[in-house]
């Protein structure tokens, strides 16, 4: 039994690592279509990664161990995070060791080291990117925690598996607090994964870039790992949203057929969420940096309103 679960766990991680570039490819493809351009192949992100892996690493003279260590750390934490988010099944063996708060903490570690690495070389862009990233983080993280606490309150647990289970049973249907939390979660996802209107993933314009500025000095396999981790993060946020708010279709028991079915369903859900993401991104324009406080303020507002309406209305 235990072995079967471990296999599921491994399958899930494999799915995350393997399918994340595919998801990014899908999003890029959709975006091209909405803009009337011919898109690159769905597999283009894999080719990009392969290309980066085959290149040599160029390190700056004054790069310290932090700079070299960070890509592996970021990649590693993202994989651990992926192991605790219920994607295929509720009965994940690793789930009891980590709840949603740890999940936020894992993302925070990755971000902290990325920011350190950005400043490590001492170039202007790295420092600027780090400071901007931390500004966004300082606003997004409280909102993220607020949203997650609201969901936890509504489902009476901070364990992701348990939340998904309660949601699955349909007891929490039609709760206003969850609606607010969901809106907040969408806004935070946009900020955390660096999408429009917070950041533009497809440009390297020095005045507006946030995340890209931090990792500007990376090359070769380091850059590949960081990019890959970024893709996984996007994938993971979508999966997290689906586990927290729309867990239907996830496997409840350990039957292989059911897990296979859950795998197909999660891919379908992600494909749909990709469409939503593209619709949002197409409808919005990148915000000025200083208007981000308003954007993330609204996310915080939504999350807090969700929590308040839990107390007031439920």
């Amino acid at each position: 039994m235990m072995l079967g679960r471990l296999v599921t766990e491994l399958l899930q991680v494999a799915l995350l690592v393997g399918a994340a570039p595919l998801f990014v490819g899908w999003v890029r493809m959709l975006k091209c279509w909405t803009q009337g351009r011919t898109s690159a192949s769905l597999l283009q992100p894999y080719r990009d990664l392969a290309k980066l892996f085959s290149k040599d690493v160029v390190l700056a003279e004054n790069a310290s161990w932090i700079f070299r260590f960070t890509p592996y750390l970021v990649f590693g934490t993202t994989i651990i995070a992926g192991a605790v988010v219920p994607m295929l099944t509720i009965n994940l063996p690793l789930a009891p060791i980590a709840d949603v708060i740890v999940l936020v903490g894992l993302f925070a570690i990755a971000r902290f080291f990325t920011a350190l690495a950005g400043m490590d070389i001492g170039t202007a862009f790295g420092g600027m990117g780090s400071s901007r990233e931390m500004m966004v983080a300082s606003l997004a993280e409280p909102a993220m925690l607020m949203a997650i606490f609201t969901v936890s309150l509504a489902n009476k647990s901070t364990s992701l598996s348990h939340i998904a289970e309660v949601m699955y049973s349909g007891q929490s249907l039609l709760k206003p607090s969850l609606a607010f939390a969901f809106i907040a979660f969408i806004l935070i996802t946009l900020a955390e994964t660096g999408r429009i209107p917070v950041d533009n993933p497809s440009t390297h314009l020095e005045l507006t870039m946030l995340h890209e500025a931090m990792v500007l000095e990376y090359s070769g396999r380091h850059l590949a790992l960081i990019e890959w981790a970024g893709m996984m993060k996007l994938f993971l946020f979508m999966a997290l949203g689906s586990a927290l708010f729309f867990p239907w279709g996830i496997a409840i028991s350990d039957g292989p057929l059911e897990i296979a079915g859950a795998g197909i369903i999660i891919l379908a859900k992600l494909a749909a969420s990709g469409i939503v993401l593209v619709v949002i991104e197409t409808g919005l324009a990148k915000m000025r940096l200083f208007r981000l406080t308003e954007f993330l303020g609204s996310a915080f507002l939504m999350a807090t309103l969700g929590m308040l309406s839990f107390f007031i209305l439920e």
Partner: protein, 221 residues
């Protein structure tokens, strides 16, 4: 429709009323403000109709229709016409910056929750929990009137307060007696005509609807 579901729909609508109240608080464009105001009216109207159906109170249907016609169509239409006629396009700056306004708004929600908690406990209606939301809507409307400098936005704040009061009446007691509801609606309508006249007066006298310019009357003058 059973009571459980009705109560859930009711609180869901209440949550959205609160959301529209906040949306109005932070919205800077006047056209969008008017639209959000109309949406809020629509939510209230639906809510009233549902409560009327569940509680079997037929006078609530009349209130609901009144709300629908007055707050979803007539008032937004009047405002829209005024805004078009007076050529107001400028985005209005607020006195307090937006994140700060949001935080004050949140504090007001908590405040009204605390104020209304003992009252809600005494109630046995399915709508009891929304009373705090209603008060919060009133107070947010008030906040909007304080933080905005534009005559039209102040009026929208005023009408939002009125919405909150109507909501309060529905959730506390399944609506006030019909005489009172009709009277209040009449007063709102008269108020609408008066502010309509006012906009033109202010516009011709001050050449703008920015009430900041109206600060001649001060103490000790």
């Amino acid at each position: 429709m059973n009571l459980q579901i009705a109560a859930q729909i009711n609180s869901f609508l209440a949550a959205f009323v609160l959301l529209t109240a906040f949306a109005m608080l932070v919205q800077k464009r006047i056209y969008s403000l008017i639209h959000i105001f109309a949406w809020q009216g629509l939510l209230l109207s639906i809510n009233t109709a549902i409560v009327g159906y569940v509680a079997n109170k037929h006078h609530l249907y009349i209130s609901s229709i009144m709300t629908l016609s007055l707050k979803v169509f007539v008032l937004p239409y009047i405002l829209h016409v005024l805004v078009v006629r007076l050529k107001i396009r400028k985005e209005v700056e607020t006195l307090v910056n937006i994140p700060m306004t949001m935080l004050i708004g949140l504090a007001l929600v908590i405040f009204s929750y605390h104020l209304m908690a003992p009252v809600s406990e005494l109630s046995h209606l399915i709508t009891k929990s929304t009373l705090a939301i209603a008060l919060a809507t009133v107070l947010i409307g008030l906040l909007m009137m304080i933080t905005r400098k534009h005559a039209v936005t102040q009026i929208i704040g005023f009408l939002a307060m009125e919405n909150g009061l109507f909501f309060a009446a529905t959730s506390a007691t399944y609506g006030m007696p019909l005489v009172v509801e009709l009277g209040v609606a009449l007063d709102v309508l008269i108020a609408a005509f008066i502010f309509g006249i006012f906009f033109f007066h202010i516009h011709t006298t001050f050449d703008s609807l920015d009430v900041e310019q109206m600060a001649k009357l001060k103490e000790g003058d």
